[in-house]
């Protein structure tokens, strides 16, 4: 046994153990807290596998924001009871057998493809084209240049999900006034988070960071504000909020279409401009992602919805 593998084996074992504990804990609160720990451990694994961009995103989104959403769901009492389904013994046995067989099959394939005969994947190509992409962080190059279309559609997914949150949910009760200690912390923390988000956004072009990490950090600022009793969580209302939500997808799409109309292909940046265009898109995307994530935490509006603003309301009353 090679001793250098020990840390990796330890990390992998801890991941599996934590996942087991998350999935089999009968106390939901405990499960959620363990899940947050699982996310943090995963962030360490990403760092170990030389994926600092992911480590940042996992800590902010996977552990942080998911954790906040799940905890607030517990507070709403939407846990319900935690019994396992009343499946018959045979059924459970069959499920376990299925799981075992599939794990072995997937593991076998992974062994064949990773260990037995390594395949040359896209690493070399992606790194070779980096010069022409306008940024020097390869992950940002993939996200906003090579596979920018994926990212565009992903922003649309976020938009659809947040519209869904707003359609079904009413706004949650806010929190009461915090004590002086927390209040003081908020006054330090929120500006710091905003500055950090700006830094992550800017640095994403050449180092780990980018729109998603920055958006999540900004959203964290909003959530902290709400915890401190600011019910709006720093978001505007009505029309402005709609523009904020649309900004990311809109700027992305319009720039892409602009390139098509001016003779290039869709999302084919002129090479000299690609760096600045990517930055513009990322700024808009950061704003939209942050707004969407804060809205997801806050829930819908108690008075109908954001698609109807004051002017519409007055009109409908008068007509």
């Amino acid at each position: 046994m090679n001793l250098t593998l020990l840390p990796d084996l330890l990390l992998a074992g801890m991941l599996i153990g934590l996942a087991w504990a998350v999935l089999n804990s009968d106390d939901l609160r405990r499960g959620v807290v363990l899940f947050i720990a699982f996310g943090l451990l995963l962030a360490i694994v990403w760092a170990r596998l030389l994926a600092p961009d992911l480590a940042l995103a996992e800590a902010a989104i996977g552990a942080g924001l998911s954790g906040a959403l799940l905890l607030v769901a517990l507070r709403d009492g939407s846990g319900g009871d935690q019994r396992s389904a009343k499946r018959s013994t045979l059924n459970r046995w069959l499920i376990d057998l299925f799981v075992l067989v599939m794990t072995c099959l997937i593991g076998w394939v992974l062994w064949l493809t990773i260990y037995a005969e390594p395949v040359e994947r896209l690493a070399q190509l992606a790194n070779a084209m980096l010069e022409r992409s306008g940024v020097s962080n390869p992950v940002t190059a993939v996200l906003l240049n090579y596979r920018a279309y994926d990212t565009l559609l992903e922003l649309v997914v976020v938009l659809a999900a947040v519209l869904g949150v707003l359609v079904v949910g009413r706004e949650r009760r806010g929190y009461r006034e915090p004590g002086p200690v927390f209040h003081g912390l908020v006054h330090w923390l929120v500006p710091l988070l905003i500055v950090t988000a700006g830094y992550l956004l800017w640095v994403g072009a050449h180092a780990p960071g980018g729109a998603f990490q920055a958006g999540a950090t900004l959203a964290a600022a909003g959530i902290v504000l709400r915890l401190a009793g600011y019910d709006a969580a720093g978001l505007p209302d009505g029309r402005l909020l709609r523009w904020l939500l649309v900004a990311g997808t809109g700027v992305f799409l319009l720039l892409g279409l602009g390139m098509t109309v001016s003779g290039g292909g869709f999302l084919q940046y002129p090479e000299a401009w690609s760096g600045s265009l990517i930055l513009v898109i990322e700024v808009a995307a950061t704003a939209s992602i942050a707004a969407a994530l804060v809205l997801a935490y806050r829930g819908g509006r108690s008075d109908g919805w954001l698609l109807v603003d004051e002017k519409d309301k007055n009109r409908e009353i008068s007509s």
Binding site: V181, L185, W188, L189
Partner: protein, 93 residues
């Protein structure tokens, strides 16, 4: 020599973490546990950070690490306060 010092600092930092974890598991009530956790972890993190800064040897990195330590201090102080306040309120009612 410097490296040796750094390693020493890192290891003593880690042992503080370890003690804190033991305290968390073994101490009888919430306040004592919080005490063990925050004290040990803040000190442990501080030692760890000084050690890492020495190993790295650049001033900029040392500043960044210091910032991290300060933030962690702020967060742990505030959250320990909130938790104990909550516990007190619940005990009273």
């Amino acid at each position: 020599m410097l490296d040796l010092l750094a390693l020493l600092l890192i290891f003593s930092g880690i042992s503080f973490f370890f003690l804190g974890a033991i305290g968390l598991l073994r101490l009888p009530d919430l306040h004592a546990r919080l005490h063990a956790l925050t004290k040990a972890d803040n000190l442990g993190l501080g030692l760890l950070i000084v050690g890492v800064a020495l190993l790295h040897g650049s001033l900029l990195m040392a500043m960044k690490l210091l910032l991290i330590w300060l933030l962690a201090l702020l967060a742990s102080a505030a959250s320990a306060h909130l938790i104990s306040q909550y516990a007190l309120r619940r005990n009273r009612s």
